[in-house]
């Protein structure tokens, strides 16, 4: 254990020393950048320069509170670390003046404080563990996110990194596999296949050459768990893969990362180079005779490449078209060799299982779903962000306790979970425990972990159409049902959303959904009808309203909206008539105008143009006042 111990001693000193000086840390994940974190960092650099402040400036990854980005952490020696949210470059001078120069917490912008051992707490500011966003979370694979510098191997090792690899290398291969099996860890890529069992298959498979592959193709629109883990704790993924490589007898691995994640790729590259430098990857790891080489493959933009056989085909340099299974990758994977393929989060869990034991891991979660799961909370929710919760927590707790409820006080309508393969869970089912089996039973799916909150202004038919348009463009085109079926389902849904739906369309959708589930070649086609089937199951009346009443209850389907002028508010300024591209608005100067519904193309130009809120298109209005368009049955 000599090699790692020496490293640990050195890096831990290093890490502790950091907190003996004033420190400003900016959260720079992709989301931090998107919110302008880099500009805040620049402003901090300038300001500390101008004022000659003797502080260190560092960066970290995303702690998960996307709704508070950009975030800045300030720590002074001996004091708790304070996180500030919603920072902008022009807030920087005041912030530094208060917190660093006057040693005064700037309460107004502070979000929470993080306590380190022996640090003095500030008064009047909530501790991270008491912040409602975090109090119900159980942070394992996200424990380093927002806390350490993801490009620093020193931070990783100082916080327990590569200890698990060290332990694993002194274990029997089969014992590692048994440990993973006992932990109950299931794949986090969506299917929930028991990880230990998969490793066992690969380990048993015949062949001298084997591969370990990490699926970091996270293509589900509305999910960024894997990106956050890769950007925030890349070494954990490398360590998990190396442990797997040792356990199954592989000496080479690939990480297949979406090309849309340049920052994740960069941080992974840095991590691999550093790990090799310190003998933690590459040849003769930790002096124990185990070789493991990792390579990164950047995807080229195809959702279907998240499917395991398509991913392997793509690494081999082909069109990412799925292959027929069996043979499964465990027996015949990359270049025909036995291959273990797991998701980012799955691998990131591995070091924790090894370090803290399978019993500890199995103590979290439900009977069949162990441990914790990372989710992305998005959509119409107050606290958008990245969370990690114990399996079995209810959706209600996630949305209302952690997520702070629905935006703008609107009513929650449904939660979309599992992305294009998943489904919608409606308000009544929110107490459902979040685990693989309960979600499947409810017609949704754990998927990778995207949780999109939908409120009353979201049209469920439109949501189904949205997902179908995604799967339709992403269908690889290899098998007939998926290639032709997604197209027809999308056409039907588009028709319904535009008011041209027929009652037979519903039966057709159901039949197509059933046939695709039964016959499609890969998971993409087999599951792509889920968003339709689950919305039809819970929100049938919305479909009926679109078809029979030509009415979109949520007021979201443009073609079904009815634009009218509220005569009480209209001043007759004529701006709307001028902008109307269809010439549908008429009226005398200074008298209320009217919209000719026959001519109106529902572009909404008048609505944005009007300064008097006289143009209405909300659903309620169209419902009450709309002309008699109900079709005779």
């Amino acid at each position: 254990m000599g090699h790692l111990n020496k490293l640990r001693a050195r890096f831990t000193r290093h890490y502790k020393d950091k907190f003996n000086r004033g420190r400003i840390v900016v959260g720079l994940g992709t989301c931090g950048f998107a919110a302008g974190g880099d500009q805040v960092l620049e402003a901090i650099r300038q300001e500390t320069g101008i004022r000659n402040l003797d502080v260190d400036i560092d960066f970290t990854s995303c702690i998960g509170m996307c709704y508070k980005e950009p975030m800045v952490e300030i720590s002074l020696p001996g004091m708790a670390r304070v996180i500030y949210g919603d920072m902008t470059p022009d807030k920087v001078p005041a912030l530094l003046e208060s917190h660093i120069i006057n040693k005064h917490l700037l309460k107004e912008w502070a979000v929470m404080q993080i306590t380190e051992e022996g640090a003095t707490l500030y008064e009047n500011i909530v501790k991270m563990e008491d912040n409602p966003f975090f109090s119900k979370q159980l942070r394992t694979v996200t424990s380093r996110l927002g806390r350490t510098n993801p490009e620093s191997i020193s931070d990783y090792v100082a916080t327990g990194g590569y200890l698990a690899l060290d332990t694993a290398l002194s274990m029997q291969r089969q014992d590692i596999i048994e440990e993973i099996k006992k932990s109950g860890l299931r794949g986090r890529g969506g299917g929930g296949f028991p990880t230990g069992m998969k490793w066992d298959f690969v380990s048993q498979a015949e062949g001298a050459k084997k591969y370990v592959v990490c699926n970091a193709d996270e293509g589900d629109p509305g999910a960024f768990m894997d990106r956050s883990v890769l950007e925030g704790d890349p070494h954990a993924v490398l360590e998990g893969m190396a442990i797997c490589g040792y356990a199954v007898g592989a000496d080479e691995g690939y990480i297949y990362v979406r090309a849309e994640y340049p920052l994740a790729i960069k941080r992974l590259q840095t991590a691999i180079v550093r790990a090799e430098e310190y003998g933690l990857l590459g040849k003769n790891i930790l002096g124990r005779g185990f070789n493991f080489k990792l390579m990164i493959k950047a995807g080229a933009g195809a959702f279907v490449c998240g499917e395991e056989t398509a991913l392997l085909t793509s690494i081999e340099g082909n069109r990412g078209m799925p292959r027929v299974r069996p043979p499964f990758p465990a027996n015949r994977g990359l270049w025909g060799k036995p291959t273990n393929l797991n998701n980012v989060e799955t691998y990131a869990n591995v070091p924790f299982v090894i370090n803290r034991g399978s019993d500890w891991y199995a103590s979290m979660g439900t009977k069949k779903s162990k441990g914790s799961k990372v989710f992305c909370l998005t959509g119409k929710i107050n606290n958008t962000g990245l969370i990690e919760v114990p399996m079995g927590i209810s959706l209600r707790e996630i949305i209302f306790s952690i997520g702070g409820g629905v935006q703008n006080g609107k009513k929650l309508k449904a939660v979309q979970i599992g992305g294009p393969s998943g489904g919608c869970i409606c308000e009544e089912d929110l107490d459902l425990p979040v685990d693989y089996d309960s979600l499947s039973a409810a017609g949704a799916m754990m998927g990778s972990g995207g949780l999109v909150v939908l409120d009353e202004t979201t049209c469920m038919v439109d949501i189904a159409r949205f997902f179908l348009s995604f799967t339709q463009t992403e269908s690889c085109g290899k098998c007939t049902p998926c290639r032709e079926g997604t197209k027809r389902m999308l056409e039907i849904l588009t028709r319904i959303c535009s008011g041209a739906g027929k009652m037979e369309d519903l039966a057709d959708l159901e039949r197509l959904g059933r046939v695709m589930k039964n016959t499609a070649l890969c998971g993409l086609g087999q599951t792509c009808a889920n968003p339709i089937l689950s919305t039809m199951r819970y929100f049938k009346e919305e479909y009926l309203a679109h078809i029979q009443d030509l009415f979109c209850p949520a007021g979201a389907c443009r073609a079904l909206l009815i634009y009218q002028i509220d005569t009480a508010n209209c001043k007759g300024c004529g701006k709307c008539a001028k902008i109307c591209p269809a010439g549908a608005i008429r009226g005398e100067k200074n008298t209320p105008h009217v919209i000719d519904l026959e001519k109106c193309i529902k572009c909404g130009a008048c609505l944005t143009e009007c300064s008097f809120e006289a143009i209405k298109n909300d659903a309620a209005l169209s419902w009450n006042k709309r002309p008699n368009t109900r079709r005779s049955a």
């Binding site: 992709t30 989301c31 950048f33 998107a34 919110a35 996307c66 709704y67 980005e69 996270e218 293509g219 589900d220 629109p221 509305g222 999910a223 960024f224 990106r227 979406r258 090309a259 849309e260 994640y261 340049p262 493959k297 950047a298 995807g299 080229a300 933009g301 195809a302 959702f303 793509s314 690494i315 081999e316 340099g317 082909n318 069109r319 990412g320 078209m321 270049w335 992305c376 909370l377 998005t378 959509g379 119409k380 958008t384 962000g385 990245l386 979309q416 992305g419 995207g450 999109v452 939908l454 979201t458 949501i463 949205f466 997902f467 995604f470 992403e474 690889c476």
Partner: protein, 161 residues
């Protein structure tokens, strides 16, 4: 972006290509990374470049073409200096991603996947940029802009000359 957009690819670019090909020649599964590098060099994938890659890697040209047309990342036509990608992922969709796309499209006078005549901008959509928490989001080249309203779009685009 390094590419030259006058319709002619420069000899320097071809030299660069040959160097890259040599780097990848003996690597397994090198077709896609090589196409990615070639696109970095030329800004898009000209036919003769794909043909050269096929010959050098001893991969059928039809297969190279098949791969290049399969992946959304590859472009067979020259593109603008600045590539705008408007996110149409779920999270951005429910927060008005379509309006951002409309605004960009109106401002530039081009539709999705279009390129302005002066080759200044190319407008694309993307299924998810992974910055859902900041939705709606758009990306210009490698810069991500989040929490947008339609009215923010012109200001952002104008910054890219």
């Amino acid at each position: 972006m390094k590419s030259c957009h006058c319709g002619q690819n420069s000899p320097a670019q071809y030299q660069e290509l040959l160097k890259v090909i040599d780097r990848y020649r003996h690597m397994k599964g090198s077709l896609i990374p090589l196409l990615q590098e070639a696109q970095e060099i030329f800004g898009y994938l000209p036919g003769d470049v794909m043909k050269k890659i096929s010959t050098e890697l001893k991969v059928p040209f039809s297969k190279t073409y098949g791969a290049a047309t399969f992946y959304a990342q590859f472009h067979l036509q020259p593109r603008g200096r600045h590539v705008i990608r408007v996110c149409q992922g779920t999270a951005c969709h429910v927060r008005g991603g379509a309006k951002i796309l409309d605004a960009a499209s109106e401002q530039l006078g081009i539709a999705e996947n279009g390129t302005t005549e002066d080759l200044r901008y190319t407008l694309e959509t993307v299924a998810c940029l992974g910055a859902c928490g900041q939705g709606p989001v758009l990306m210009v080249n490698n810069d991500t802009h989040g929490r947008l309203a339609a009215k923010d779009v012109p200001k952002i685009l104008d910054k890219y000359k």
